[in-house]
Amino acid sequence: MIEFTNVSKTYPNGTEVLFNVNLHIGKEEFVFVVGPSGAGKTTLLKFVYRAEKPNAGKVIVDRVNVVDLESKQVPYLRRNIGVIFQDYKLLPRRTVFENVAFALRVMGAPRSTIRRKVMQALELVGMLRRATAFPEQLSGGEKQRACIARAIVNNPPILIADEPTGNLDPTTSWDIIQLLDKINKRNTTVIMATHNKSIVDDMKRRVVVLENGKIVRDQQLGSYHV
């Protein structure tokens, strides 16, 4: 599904983020990417949805090398990748429904389809009764659920989660992880960058550890520390 081959990244200011990273992620896998801040987790995830480009190497997503992708093609790549963030990135003056519908609007989906799909997504994340609320009226966990609903509303084969529990308390974090697990079981590849030790240890999924821009450990049924 996703394959990084000899991927390196240096930012224009000279900061070296990733060195020669090789990583294969199979279909419907659930992978944790862990490591200290600045290890290059976010950059690695950004390569997948082409928010960043590596200086060297290949990033294959669904048989396409997205490094060579023309700018014009990037939107179509992103329609097949859901992304959720630590800071949710919800549009502030729109309701939950409108925020989720936005992702479908952008693809030019007809109104009836939008309504049906948004309702389904909101139901899946348990936000149906909050559909008309505005982001500022939501708790952190609810915001993240709305964000997840937006990410999966188009049933993308890949879901990228960049520290989705970074701003949430442990109980809520756990709820969100359960939700991501549920989405993974509906045939979606999930890649999640996190600092949350207890979640990684409890989930017992594949763990990729990044340190100083290199993969230092890649372990099935892994834990946060060796």
């Binding site: 700018s71 939107p75 790549l77 549009l91």
Partner: protein, 295 residues
């Protein structure tokens, strides 16, 4: 596409209302810029109009001191009319000229007491086709039999010609300069409204919106601002110009200000069309910059 258009319109109106203060500032800026632009257009056109008026009034006067019979006068008139560049020749006999003169000034001067005999010569008033022909035509007239003196304001014509030229070139340069300044101001104002929604653009791009899709609501918003600014400028300029024309007509009746409906309509329309275009271009440039930065 149809459902998209509806979406774009709703998005544009929504953002216009949401950033009410910003939109107000943008419309105000567009209005002021266009009013200044329109003011210059009107000034330059009127200056050209006044000068054109003066130069079109320039005729050649040819005098004959000797007495002339009507036949002789007719023969000379015919000769003069045959000179190339001459549009019209009028003959005013010394008697006619004297009567006209007395009619005009007779009340204030005791002419009959001052002068026993008529001191005026026979006069041919000659109109040339274009002002630049004046000198050559005047030379040819002076060679015609019996013509004793030719008068025309040659130097003045040359000066006016170069003034017309200067106004035309300077005016064109000014219009270009002011158009450019207006474009810069409008682009930068709209850029502020776009930058205020950078997050929206980022999110749109993240969920897979194409650049075209992101641009449309902003362009429509720019058009709305431009049209509003153009209409405001049109109203202000129309009222102001009307007031100026009214005052000038009272105080300086000999200054011919333009009141030709068509020319003014073109200027007023150009404000609205210009405003719309500026709004559109401004929005396009601004969004493109943000989109470029997103890549």
């Amino acid at each position: 596409m149809f459902s998209n258009l509806e979406f774009f319109l709703i998005e544009a109106l929504r953002s216009f209302r949401r950033g009410a203060l910003m939109s107000f500032v943008a419309v105000g800026t567009i209005t002021v810029s266009l009013v200044i632009f329109g003011m210059f257009m009107l000034m330059i056109l009127n200056l050209g109009n006044v000068i054109g008026n003066v130069s079109s009034k320039m005729d050649i006067a040819a005098y004959v001191d000797d007495d002339l019979s009507l036949e002789q006068a007719g023969a000379i008139q015919l000769k003069l009319a045959k000179i190339t560049g001459v549009e019209k020749v009028d003959f005013v006999s010394r008697t006619e000229a004297w009567q006209n003169f007395k009619k005009e000034f007779g009340d204030s001067l005791m002419l009959d007491d001052l002068m026993r005999s008529n001191p005026l010569p026979h006069t041919f008033n000659i109109r040339v086709r274009t002002p630049d022909l004046l000198t050559t035509v005047a030379k040819q007239i002076s060679r015609v039999d019996k013509i004793s003196e030719v008068r025309y304001s040659g130097q003045l014509v040359d000066q006016i010609k170069s003034l017309v030229e200067a106004v035309r070139i300077g005016g064109a340069a000014l219009v270009i300069l002011i158009s450019f300044a207006t474009l810069l101001i409008v682009v930068n104002t709209i850029r502020l409204t776009v930058l205020a929604r950078e997050t929206d653009i980022t999110i749109m791009k993240l969920v897979g919106a194409t650049d075209t899709f992101v641009r449309w609501p902003f362009i429509i918003e720019g058009i709305i601002m431009g049209v509003l600014g153009g209409v405001c400028a049109f109203i202000i300029l129309r009222l102001a110009y009307w007031a100026v024309v009214f005052r000038v007509a009272k105080a300086l009746p000999f200054v011919p200000l333009m009141t030709d409906g068509w020319v003014l309509l073109v200027i007023y329309l150009s404000l609205i069309v210009g405003g719309t275009g500026l709004g559109m271009i401004g929005a396009y440039i601004s969004v493109s910059r943000v989109l470029k930065a997103e890549e």
